[in-house]
Structure formats: structure tokens, C-alpha cells
Symmetry: C2
DNA sequence: TTGCGTGCAAAGGTTTTGCATGGCA
DNA sequence: TGCCATGCAAAACCTTTGCACGCAA
């Protein structure tokens, strides 16, 4: 495990800047490589993977695994300073594959419950709820 | 998508029997292949992958993706007939990697909440909560 | 007999690693 | 200067697919 960043390289700055400009977006390593290639300053994919790991360890970026075989998604979360506005959760639709943001105070409560009753420190920046989204539920009803 | 099973083959019987005998366990495709190889009736890994997909579609087995690069985990869940005893959730420790079973009525409530308030049908047989388990929390405290 | 299931090997996609080079502090 | 970061290519890993053969109904 490479651990946290020790140097502040040009690549780290560029990558962080890009992720920061895409808040709320779910970005893959391939997206990053493509972006910088098209902007005339290509970045090696090994570098992107390694920097992403550091950024996650630094707590600046979250990593989401949405499906096997699919690439991991990354999202800028800054200093986790969303404390006042309630935690943001993610839901993944098993049918259409969309990854949905969900702000919900009630869900925030389970974090406390898990810790107090089960001793488990939930990491909402990593957890994904799987299920079926509203749109796909409706479609399924119509098909049957 | 291969869809559900239409034939009842020897391999399906063997695989289902093995999974059923290992209730509460998290089993990978590699585990299955190794098991049957050592027991003198090797099963092709492509067959295991394809049968697993059918068993998941049939609702007899759940599939959990715990980490990118790690193999998927499968677990026998029978006919989902745990209705009376509250839904079983899974927690994955980001440090030691263990996958923990958790029976909790309070957690079951969020399923209803997600559906009623957000129109999202949660699939507890697929969802994994990420975080830090009790043991690893204690270790971290001691290290600091 | 028909069509699905099986098994082997090869391909596919994502992520990791080895190693020489380059850059930050 | 010392150590970490980068980049390329190759390897590793899990999973899927093509195709011929076998088996259930």
C-alpha cells in the first residue's frame, strides 16, 4: 500500500483540479486519461491509478465499486466538510446501471445506529446501496 | 443474459448442494472449483460462473462484490424465506477485509424508507455496507 | 431429437507491478 | 542529493465468450 502523498507533483495538481471541477460526477480512470490526452498533456494510466489511491487515502476522493468488471468510479469529496448538510449516499440501479446521489437525514441516522449498536463505523463515502430505481420499477410494472 | 435455469443438471445439483451446506459462508468461484477438484469431480470454471448467474437469477443465491479486483462472493439464501427473522445485512471492513453478517430490525426499516420516500427498491441481498469493524477500530485507537 | 448445459481454451477488461527515468524538497 | 513519482510495457487477475461435444427432457 503506497499510503498518502508526500510530494506535490504537477500530475497530482492537475488530477485534483480536474476532479474538483467535476464535483458530483463519477469519474473513471479511463475518463481521466482520455481527458488529459485530449487536452494535450497525457497522463500515464499507472500514474492515475497510483494517484487515485493516494487521494483516497488522503480523504479527498471517494472510490465506488459499482459492478464487477466495470471500472471503479471516483468522486471528489473535498475535506468531507458536508457535515452540516447531512451525509450524501449513493444508490446504484441494478437494471439501468445509474448511480444516484441521495441526501437523506434519515439515512444518516443509521450511521449512528451501526456504530452504537454494532460497533461498526460506516463509511458513507464508499457504501453503495443496490436496488431498483423509480424509473425502472415503473417500466417493470408496465412490462408485466 | 443467460436467464434462469431450464435444465436440472448434475453440476447444478452439486453446486447447489455445496452452497447449501455452506450457509452463512461467502464463497468464490475459485473456492467452488477447488472444492470439486479435490473431491474428484472437477467442474469447469466457466460452468461455475454460468450456473452462479442462473442461481442468482433464480433467487437462490446472492452475489456480493466486495472490492475491485477481488472475486465476487456468493451465498446461499434459499427461497429468501427469512421474512420472519428480519433481513440480513452485510458489512465489509475496509481494513481487515472481513465480511460480517448483521441481523438488525432497525436496518430493515431503511428498506421501507428508501422505497416510500425515494422510490428506490433496496436489494439487501446485494448491498454491502463499507466501514471499519469493531476489532479494527480498537486496534487503530491503540496504535495512535 | 431438440435445445440447453458443459468444458476447454482464448479473449476481454481492469488493475497492478517492474524498472529505468524524471522531478520535488 | 535522496527519495519519491512518473511512464511505458508486461504481467496478473477475474470474468466472459466461441465452439464442439454431451446430456436433460
Amino acid at each position: 500500500m503506497p499510503g498518502r502523498s508526500k510530494y506535490n507533483t504537477k500530475q497530482r495538481e492537475m488530477l485534483l483540479g480536474y476532479l474538483e471541477s467535476q464535483r458530483r460526477a463519477h469519474i473513471t480512470v479511463a475518463d481521466v486519461c482520455e481527458y488529459f490526452k485530449e487536452h494535450g498533456s497525457p497522463m500515464g494510466q499507472a500514474t492515475v491509478y497510483r494517484q487515485m489511491e493516494k487521494l483516497v487515502d488522503d480523504g479527498l476522493v471517494s472510490k465506488y465499486i459499482v459492478d464487477v468488471g466495470s471500472p471503479a468510479c471516483f468522486e471528489y469529496v473535498g475535506e468531507h466538510s458536508h457535515a452540516g448538510e447531512g451525509t450524501c449516499f449513493h444508490c446504484r440501479c441494478e437494471i439501468c446501471g445509474s448511480l444516484i446521489h441521495m441526501h437523506c437525514d434519515e439515512l444518516s441516522l443509521i450511521k449512528g445506529h451501526l456504530f452504537e449498536e454494532h460497533g461498526f463505523k460506516l463509511d458513507p463515502f464508499r457504501t453503495v446501496f443496490y436496488g431498483i430505481c423509480e424509473n425502472c420499477s415503473k417500466k417493470e410494472e408496465n412490462d408485466i
